[in-house]
Symmetry: C2
Subunit: 190 residues, 2 copies
């Protein structure tokens, strides 16, 4: 792993040379082409991924084949099916690259090894988890309380950098509406 990437991931943490060696040994760099799937629903989610650049999407597919986007992930976000990652159950989410993306992969096993070797990383990941929890709480309240138009405006705020490069139907599946409805909302707003 390059120094700049390590600093980007663990920004304010300082490591010894030995710790740096350990970190380098557990992260694997991955180039995911647009359309590539890095985790498939039904598989074991035995890794999580740090996004250096690009854009990822995690979504659930129901019995009828309809897709529901749980999250978009951009630079400096972590992605996986965390529910499956934590529980050991099979993934119900698929994680795909919707732009060419560069990622770092760490397996669940290596992450646990990392915790034993560099205890402060435990705290680092706990804070990430707290933030992820917080984001989900916010999302639930917005879904309960806001109209589709308000949710769309909130989406633009949440993802200002990528909003224009994400396909309409992916945004719609994130908002819980059809692509036609989103089209109408966009028209009203313009």
């Amino acid at each position: 792993m390059e120094v700049s990437d390590r600093n980007k991931i663990f920004n304010d943490l300082v490591f010894t040379d030995e710790e740096i060696n350990i970190i380098n040994s557990v992260f694997q760099k991955i180039n995911a082409k647009k359309g590539a799937i890095i985790l498939n629903a039904g598989d074991i989610a035995d890794a999580q991924y740090y996004i250096v650049s690009g854009c990822m999407r995690t979504f659930h597919t129901d019995e009828e084949g309809k897709e529901y986007t749980l999250q978009f992930g951009i630079s400096d976000w972590w992605v996986s099916d965390y529910t499956a990652f934590f529980t050991g159950d099979k993934a119900i989410l698929t994680v795909e690259a919707i732009q060419d993306s560069t990622l770092y992969r760490i397996s669940k096993e290596d992450k646990e090894y990392l915790f034993t070797q560099i205890p402060k990383i435990d705290t680092f990941f706990r804070i990430k988890l707290e933030k992820a929890y917080t984001a989900f709480q916010k999302r639930i309240l917005i879904n309960l309380s806001k109209t589709a138009k308000q949710r769309y405006l909130n989406f633009i705020e949440t993802y200002p950098k990528i909003e224009k490069s994400i396909k309409n139907y992916h945004i719609a599946s994130y908002l819980g509406i059809t692509t036609e409805s989103l089209s109408r909302i966009r028209k009203e707003l313009s």
Copy 2:
């Protein structure tokens, strides 16, 4: 804290006498009467609460005074406005007892002290957080993909023990529908 309560909270963890003393010193037993508010939106959320018995509700109130129920909490659950608890921001959630409830309170400060004194408790709380995250992920996907009737059926599954004792309008505010709509759904199902 009574032995039985400590075992209930930390079921499979084993503590030394000294650790037990520390635990006893940081948890405060609270009896909350039906209707009591233990955390108010706008306040600092400097504690979290373990529910021994009873039923709690966490909800958000919007500018118009409409309430949106984020969660019901029953025996063996933890409640707070975790977003506020983690970030230090003011609470946007209110936590109220909807039945007479017995709780144990632990302050944020004491919880951090507990982590330093009994490191394995850190892992215990991390797993709780993972489960809470998982529950929220599930909730988001259900809200995106299911009709009100399906969400109501899912609610009954999720809260089978308390479903009958929770007010209709509280359930409705959890499902994101009006009390009238819930009434009609119930009629259809009966």
